[in-house]
Amino acid sequence: MILAWLLLIPFIGGLVAWLADRKKLVDPALVTLATLLLDLLIVIGFYFTRDAPIEISGQQWMAVLELAWIPRFGIGFVLALDGLGLLMVLLTLFLGVVAVLSSWQEINHRKGFFYFNILWTMSGVIGVFTSLDLFLFFFFWEVMLIPMYFIIGVFGHENRIYAAIKFFIFTQASGLLMLLAIIALVYFHHQSSGVVTFNYFELLGAELSASVAYWLMLGFFIAFITKLPGVPLHTWLPDAHTQAPTAGSVILAGVLLKTGAYGLIRFAVPLFPEASAEFAPVAMSLGAVSIIYAAAMAFAQTDIKRLIAYTSVSHMGFVLLGVYAGNETAARGAVMTMLAHGMTSAALFAFAGAIGQRIHTRDMRQMGGFWRSAPRMGAIVLFFSVAALGMPGLANFVGEFLVLLGAFKANMLLTCIAAIGLILAPVYSLIVIQRIFHGKRLVEKPIPDVTTRETVMMLMMIVVTVGLGVFPQPVMELMASSLDLLPVVAFNDEAGMVSQ
């Protein structure tokens, strides 16, 4: 039941926030913050008071909720939470709080509608991370999309309509492919077993011919890689991120991209293990290409939010590489990268928004020398830039290191290519610091340093980033059982190439 509450609280909170604004009762931002904190508390409370894990078809689950929904088509309302899901939900709610704090003063018109959308996106994302019925999963996949579309399209910057529609078309078209794949999967499962069901656990064992499985896997893969995003389906992201309001960027980068990676880990690979194994070299190549290509693209940008958007693509390339490397080391690294990237990119976007609010531009050519007037902001951005480039001791390093370590086992050449990303990461990360905070001051009046609200928000994120970087082990143990289904992927051991 706890799972239903997790979903319902932001859902109801959204309506309350809207009404509160309509009736001018309370600030909808406060409602939103309270809602998210309540949800966060519930999750944390649940984690500490949870019962013994429930076992379903060999997997451990912390909580399961199973209700009939449309029994005629085998569609159930199945929610379940395991370590991976818990981590993702925690990340979602944490970044939700950050997003609300970062947009505290940014939104002035139709505030209620804005926070309504934020909370419904949150609800959809939590649904995605907990639902284990493919139909329900698809439902939530769409639920998180449409509020996001409004956040970008209504509250975004100058080119928002273009960005919002591009975002919508990309995700919707790829979502359609996933829907087709889901229905086809159910159909073929029905053909072989005579049972119509959308249930994840039952579909795990679906018997499919190799070619069918391959095509269905591709359907899922394209949907998830668009969301991830991986080259060459990444081009919606720079536009969407650039045009979205700060909170939108934070949620988009920190949370929504993770749904793609989560989908790969939870659905694409376990549902079609053999096809995924066959496809793995392609997926890993895409990951490696994403890492390098997006890193180079990031360096080229002059719009700060665009730059950060491309770094996201680069980082998510590591996730793609890790998920398909086919061993647990890399898979853990992939999840760690997801968490770490959630922190760093969200923080950087929050700052891009904060700077944008102060000087009303995102163009880095018009910035420079901010360190003098805003040293604390500079230090914090420096921290997150450094985290983003994979400094050991911070969260990103753990993820990237484990991904590369695991991927090296699977495919040396691709890992070597991906390692070039390690060289390009400082190129783009440091240029941010250089262009904004160093150099001569270009803006006439000094920009104000971080406010208390921003400091508190950032300290929270710094603590999490350092914590994940220095003590990642508890988190990794939490996710361990969820990754059991991943290493099914078997490889021809290319490592033997260089054996003695």
Binding site: M297, F299, E328, T329, M391, F401, K440, P472, Q500
Partner: protein, 612 residues
């Protein structure tokens, strides 16, 4: 005291955190910054004394704190490992580091970023200690990247200038190239040896791998890549001269005494792996010899006092690599230590000079400073003598050990020795060119003495002392490294080695003191000028990298700013819009046009029905 090992890196780290988080006054910042390193140095002293008090077999101490990362068979403990090698490094880092911190209090006195400076310095000391104490390669890598970061931060310390920022980023990125190779080396080692604990790794390597087989060769080559980056050896040396953009104490601490020796330390630390790869060993020696030779010439034609010292550092690091390459591990570490003393001394003295001549760094705008700045002059003199390895100075002992080891090496040892000796001549030449130009001749700069206070002088005096007596220390590293057999050095070799520095000094005396017109005359000729320009640019490495790496990348980046992949989608959207417009044309709003179209459609359909 050994159980307090964890406190040694923690103290400067705490200092860093205090400096960052609290708004300290300048005085408090100085106390925290210097105090934390001072305390770490004191603790190090106690620990080192206790460690060397143990019997020589038991001089190993390991402390495990927590499991950092664990997945499948991969485990990285957060653990420190102390043995005589690490202890020596620790002593150098905290000792020299403390002196330089002290010096910085005076040097940075008027800088607005005083607290920030000490924060970075403390973080650097902490990271460097983690580097040398790391029990496994991952912890080592943590320190390795940490010092790289601090190096970046400190090179770009004066952030107003874009040139400084560029130099800082260049340093970070170039060393990162090495780091990426090193990371790949770690992956390879783990894949085949199932561990990254250095001691276990070495044991496994010895068990599983044959000497000279491909795997240890590749692994050693990859680790060497990391070492080359950090220690500024060819082909990754280009960042170090530019790194002189930072404040002078930084150059002394990071880019002369400690961080740049990390590569030497890494190879010494994993020497067993390198012993399994003789080809790479020879490569190390060759790179070292080439580097020391080439950068000696470059140093000769520089005009910026700090760049001269920077190229000199590269050259001296080349000696260390030469020593590593010929298996003279102790000699490499020995030279690392003496070099830390005298090069720190030289940089600090140079800093004192620069401070007194209003931040002028061109040596030809100085001159005759001998009388006005006696402390700096004598410091420079002693440091310089140690650098050129005049007998009885510390540099003499370490450098001779290296040259003799090179001479005795069966693998083209004569060539290596010859390059080393030529390098020694060059060292004498460029060092005394510097000294003669700056401190002798006629005065042509205004000097203000007042800024050089006691906190600046004291470290200079201590380092002078160390530069002289440093060579008398006997490093207790016999149990860390395999014993190198005593080589028979012929008398002539020994004689030439001894005389080489004096030849350099003598030429310098002739050309740069006695007859200054000579140098100008050489440069006046076209070949001479071309050669001078070639050497000045550091043998064209920067130019080459600019042409083959940076420019293509920048070109790609500039062309592709709008993302070529997106153009595909833009094309699709454009096509849709085109079709939309074309079809929109048929929508004329004229009823008869529509009726006509319908009629035409009927005609066509019926016609198709008839003729099919």
């Amino acid at each position: 005291m050994l159980e307090f090992l964890w406190l040694v890196p923690l103290l400067p780290l705490l200092g860093f955190l205090l400096l960052v988080l609290l708004p300290l006054t300048k005085r408090a910042a100085a106390i925290v910054g210097v105090g934390s390193v001072g305390a770490a140095a004191l603790l190090t002293l106690l620990i080192v004394v206790e460690l060397f008090g143990l019997s020589s077999d038991a001089q190993v101490f390991r402390q495990i704190y927590w499991t950092w990362m664990q997945a499948e068979n991969f485990t990285a403990q957060f653990a420190f490992y102390l043995d005589p090698l690490a202890a020596v490094m620790m002593a150098i880092i905290t000792g020299v580091g403390f002196l330089i911190h002290l010096y910085s209090v005076g040097y940075m006195d008027e800088d607005p970023g005083f607290a920030r400076f000490f924060a970075y310095m403390n973080l650097f000391i902490a990271a460097m200690l983690v580097l040398v104490l790391g029990d496994n390669l991952v912890v080592l890598y943590l320190g390795w990247e940490g010092v790289g970061l601090c190096s970046y931060l400190l090179i770009g310390f004066w952030y107003d200038s874009h040139a400084n920022g560029y130099a800082a980023r260049k340093a970070f990125v170039v060393t990162r190239v090495g780091d990426a190779l090193m990371a790949l080396g770690m992956f390879l080692l783990f894949l085949h040896l199932d561990t990254l604990d250095i001691q276990q790794l070495m044991a496994n390597a010895n068990d599983q791998w044959q000497t000279g087989s491909s795997l240890p060769t590749i692994a050693a080559a990859l680790l060497l890549g990391g070492a080359l980056g950090k220690s500024a050896q060819i082909p990754l040396q280009t960042w170090l001269p530019d790194a002189m953009a930072g404040p002078t104490p930084i150059s002394a601490l990071i880019h002369a005494a400690t961080m740049v020796t990390a590569g030497v330390y890494l190879i010494a630390r994993t020497h067993e792996l390198f012993l399994l790869a003789p080809d790479i060993m020879f490569l190390v020696a060759l790179i070292g010899a080439t580097t020391l030779f080439i950068s000696g010439f470059t140093a000769l034609v520089q005009t910026d006092i700090k760049r001269i010292l920077a190229f000199s550092t590269i050259s001296q690091l080349g000696y260390m690599f030469l020593a590593l390459g010929v298996g003279a591990w102790s000699a490499a570490i020995f030279h690392l230590m003496t070099h830390a003393f005298f090069k720190a001394l030289l940089f600090l003295a140079a800093g004192a000079v620069i401070l007194c001549v209003h931040h002028e760094q061109d040596i030809f705008k100085m001159g005759g400073l001998r009388k006005r700045l006696p402390v700096s002059f004598w410091s420079f003199m002693i440091g310089g003598l140690a650098l050129v390895a005049v007998p009885l100075t510390s540099g003499y002992y370490s450098k001779h050990e290296i040259l003799f080891a090179a001479a005795g090496n069966e693998n083209s040892g004569q060539l290596l020795w010859l390059l080393g000796v030529l390098g020694a001549v060059m060292t004498g030449l460029y060092t005394f060119r510097l000294i003669f130009t700056v401190f002798f001749g006629e005065e042509n700069t205004r000097v203000h003495e007042s800024t050089v206070g006691l906190v600046v002088k004291l470290p200079l005096v201590v380092l002078c002392l160390l530069s002289i007596v440093g060579g008398w220390f006997v490093l207790p590293l016999d149990h860390v490294f395999p014993a190198s057999e005593e080589q028979a050095i012929s008398g002539i070799t020994s004689l030439v080695t001894d005389v080489a520095p004096f030849v350099g000094i003598f030429i310098a005396y002739l050309v740069f003191h006695q007859n200054k017109a000579l140098a100008d005359a050489v440069v006046a000729h076209t070949p001479g000028r071309l050669l001078q320009r070639f050497w000045f640019s550091g043998w064209g490495f920067d130019w080459l990298y600019q042409k083959i790496l940076v420019n293509p990348f920048m070109l790609f980046v500039r062309i592709n700013k709008n993302d070529i992949v997106d153009s595909f989608y833009r094309l699709a959207a454009w096509l849709m819009r085109l079709i939309h417009r074309l079809f929109g044309l048929t929508q004329t709003g004229r009823m008869q046009w529509y009726v006509g179209s319908i009629a035409l459609g009927v005609v066509l359909i019926v016609g198709a029905g008839i003729f099919s």
